[in-house]
Subunit: 389 residues, 2 copies
């Protein structure tokens, strides 16, 4: 297999982008990534697009050629493919782009992720979010995605003594980080009291424990590592790209305090890259709900099972900590445009590894990790990225 | 790149499968393909699933792990990914499976395609079908997918003298072929008079010029060609897998009597395989509407531009003809469960190349082609398959 590098990155602001269409934000991110990679569109061989729910959100399927077309590339008849896997759609698209370049069939590939969530009422967006859970076994009985994660939280509290206050530290951290990210949906800081006092969504999770519905797009340009120096002084090598799946419904799992898909994707990724969790200096992880982040830190191997709440509260994953988590602000504060999330995670890590993250730069970051989840963990995707040589 | 072979195939009946769920048909096709490939599920490395519109059709996104789970494979935490590109979703999934094996990252991959279209009212299915066209430039102004193909038909008639009767030969042929296919949605024969006398959908296209809404699933198992003999006496090599895209909206094209995406995908596929259209003995092509098949025959290079109507009527593409087209009955008569179509095309060609197509066997078939289209040709996918050595 050919080694694959990230040559360029781009991202729109995340938030309520009511004045801009799906195609507009898709193009903006893609063109920024292309310019960043010092490539022209005539160098491109294919487009992969991560998107979860354009059919229900904007009455439009078949969106990969739509973006290609609107970018003015229809005349070159490039291949374009949409990839879907719930909230993990963006990372799955990256995995496909990685395979495409690794195979040797394509040299330069744009991987984009885009979602337009705020053009529909919140109740509709909420229903659509839940379509990433098991419709026949969970959703028809009234379980929403936050309700399912709340079950997971309750069990984690029961089994490991995780506290409500420890959960609330997750959004406090997210907003503190996002304050330094000009692309973030929310840049206001939160206090512990605000999180604890917010109205309940599905107890123990309140309004401020749940990532928002956002619009947004992100893109990366991939190419062979061997020629990456032509495009950038700091090629970022994809050291591992691993996908793992699990049961759709929570009730079919032996233990709901862990995402087996994350454990497995991380195990494979670290194995392939011959690295270990302590080597990771900066990570973008799934914090769709406060509990998601704590479980992820455990399942990725950054902390012993059951200890994430205590460790998170003690600052292990904050600025100056051992591994800095979600410098972008994560899903909670940078925002959650489903299909764009996994790609945006890679954009952030690439900027960190290049030393271009400005106010939120993590010093000495040489190896970074991204972790993206669909539903309640039926899909997890882990990428390891490192500065190329 | 590693050479890739089809090791096993499986398919459900296509039709109105009201007593069976999406997951049930998905599993049936996948297991049949696995057994056919003499593989056990423990040999598998990944699942790719082509599906166009599960979000709107069955309120369920994130369907690749759903199928994996229901197949009892969740415990192995295999990667699973859904691929979408309108009606071309199945072929696009095959392209991804092909790249995955070619890259060397995965050895054995199941590529499935599934769609459940008849659980919603026909009007809803019709709206969903049109979501493969350009929503903002076409659909909101009232254009449906058959209306757009009807524009194409009118122009083709005007420009090349194609007649209404020539168009009507397409469904007559499709039903004649499907009569020999036990999996077909429609096995009744049609007369020219019946097609011409059917109620109009979008003139010149009538009810019997349009492929039906069907439920169904199909699957293939892919693996490296070098070890294919362990699994089958007749490995079928993927000689080319090519995707090309074009503008979403018809009005942005220079000439609407041709699908540039098909022309380009075919050019690349024949170039890669170092073969030419006359080498193809059997082909499964897109006949979603009668005009689709005629345009495809021209764009794939089987007949000169403008001549497909006359040639088709003269039997060039019928049993005993130069190239036998759609022995399965095609989309029109075998059925059109969007995401399953492209995979089912490959299932049929593999059976033909293996000499296992029974009543509908095309004698001496050594090279076969599949051609799958999304929308009005924003995506085209062409595969060339041949008996491996």
């Amino acid at each position: 297999m050919r080694e694959v590098a990230v040559l360029g990155v781009g991202q729109t602001k995340f938030g309520e982008l009511w004045d801009r269409s799906f195609r507009e934000i898709g193009i903006e991110a893609g063109l920024e990534a292309l310019v960043d990679a010092k490539l022209s569109s005539s160098d491109l061989n294919a487009l992969y697009l991560g998107n979860m729910a354009s059919g229900t959100l904007i009455d439009q399927e078949h969106i990969a050629p739509l973006i290609l077309d609107y970018a003015g590339l229809a005349g070159r008849h490039l291949p374009s493919v949409r990839i879907e896997g719930g909230g993990a759609s963006g990372s799955l698209a990256l995995h496909q782009g990685y395979l495409a370049v690794a195979s040797g069939l394509y040299d330069y590939v744009v991987v984009g992720g885009a979602e337009k969530l705020t053009d529909v009422p919140d109740a509709t967006a909420s229903e659509i979010t839940s379509s990433a859970a098991d419709h026949e076994w969970e959703v028809v009985f009234g379980a929403t995605l936050p309700a399912l994660w709340a079950l997971l939280a309750r069990r984690h509290m029961h089994q490991y003594g995780t506290t409500r206050e420890q959960l609330a530290q997750v959004p406090v951290h997210a907003h503190a980080m996002a304050a330094r990210n000009p692309n973030a949906h929310y840049r206001n800081k939160l206090t512990l009291e605000q999180v604890l006092g917010a109205g309940p969504v599905a107890e123990p999770l309140g309004m401020l424990d749940c990532a928002p519905f956002s619009d947004g797009a992100a893109a990366v340009v991939l190419g062979p590592l061997e020629t990456a120096r032509k495009h950038t002084d700091t090629p970022i090598r994809i050291a591992a790209s691993e996908v793992a799946c699990d049961t759709m419904a929570l009730q079919h799992r032996e233990d709901i305090t862990t995402l087996a898909s994350t454990v497995e994707a991380a195990r494979r990724a670290f194995g392939r890259a011959r690295r270990a969790p302590p080597d990771v200096r900066v990570a973008e992880i799934h914090d769709g709900y406060s509990i998601s982040a704590l479980v992820a830190l455990e399942d990725l191997g950054f902390v012993e099972k059951g200890r994430a709440g205590a460790e998170f509260s003690s600052g292990t994953f904050g600025p100056g900590g051992r591994t800095v988590v979600n410098p972008s602000g994560g899903l909670k504060a940078q925002g959650r445009p489903f299909g764009a999330v996994g790609v945006a995670q890679v954009v952030e890590i690439v900027r960190q590894l290049r030393g271009e993250a400005k106010d939120r730069q993590v010093p000495g970051a040489a190896l970074g990790l991204t972790h993206d989840v669909g539903g309640t963990g039926a899909t997890s995707v882990v990428h390891l990225l490192e500065r190329g040589n």
